[in-house]
């Protein structure tokens, strides 16, 4: 009595959708980065589920790389947040609209 692959896809879709809505909806930059982490985790669930169902270990290797990129993204992103906070004393993204047309 195993779990069909579709269930994993639906779960990953729900988590990814939550992440997208979080990125679009929240104003706090830290929450936006957390939502990006949610999306990365949704793709990781997909990769591992396919890796299991196709009996191919390449999916797990890709999760490994995604994890590396996530770590790099967090390090640089948080450094940027700290620099922004030093410059403007806020991390509300409504304040950072220099590039907005």
């Amino acid at each position: 009595m195993t779990v069909p692959l579709s269930y994993y896809l639906v779960l990953s879709g729900i988590v990814f959708l939550t992440g997208v809505i979080g990125v679009l909806l929240r104003r706090n930059i830290i929450i936006i980065l957390l939502s990006v982490e949610l999306m990365l985790n949704a793709t990781n669930i997909n990769f591992v589920a396919f890796s299991q169902y196709l009996h191919n270990v390449a999916g797990q290797v890709f999760v490994f790389f995604a994890l590396t990129v996530a770590a790099a993204e967090v390090a640089v992103g948080l450094a940027i947040i700290i620099a922004l906070y030093r410059a403007k004393s806020t991390i509300n993204i409504d304040e950072f609209q220099l590039l907005k047309w």
Binding site: N28, V48, A49, V74
Partner: protein, 172 residues
């Protein structure tokens, strides 16, 4: 039995991810994300990816989330308005994605896909970590080195970015 475990992990993952987006306090968001990471690791164990489960806990819950909590507490945030003015756009994108997912699910049905077409099948008799190590150091050796380069660049970039003020010229 597997389905019981799957539904437990799935429900907690979905609830925790909603909580990450919906929580007032960024610290609560980060802690909800911690719960989600642990349950994703549990899901990986049920998918026979034990190495990734361990790495998920060590890297995500151990390193990344601690970094987030450190920054949240360093910046000492006040509660501000939670949601953006662009929520109609978020609603449009969300509804579009939901409709797309429903249509795709209805078209393809709930069938499981056919068997393996991949080249690197899992080697029976070795552990999960051993299999991943074999593939990582043979087939994916070059991407592995590129990943280490990415980490080096991220480390240098983070140090440079966090060290100086934004307005300063960059000579040291």
């Amino acid at each position: 039995m597997e389905q019981v475990f799957f539904f437990y992990f799935a429900c907690v993952i979905a609830a925790a991810s909603v909580l990450v987006v919906a929580a007032h306090n960024p610290i609560y968001s980060a802690l909800a994300l911690l719960i989600m990471f642990f349950h994703v690791a549990g899901l990986f164990v049920t998918l026979h990816a034990e190495f990734l489960a361990a790495v998920q806990i060590i890297v995500y819950a151990g390193a990344i989330l601690v970094l987030y909590l450190f920054v949240v507490m360093l910046l000492n945030l006040r509660h501000d308005d939670r949601y953006h003015r662009q929520w109609p756009m978020a609603a449009v994108v969300g509804v579009t994605l939901v409709i797309e997912a429903v249509i795709l699910t209805a078209m393809k049905g709930w069938a499981t896909p056919v068997v393996a077409t991949g080249t690197e099948t899992t080697v029976e008799g070795t552990t999960n970590a051993g299999t991943i190590g074999d593939v990582l150091y043979s087939t994916y050796l070059f991407p592995f080195e590129v990943a280490s380069l990415i980490l080096l660049v991220a480390m240098i970039g983070a140090i440079i970015l966090a060290k100086k003020d934004l307005g300063e010229p960059t000579e040291s």
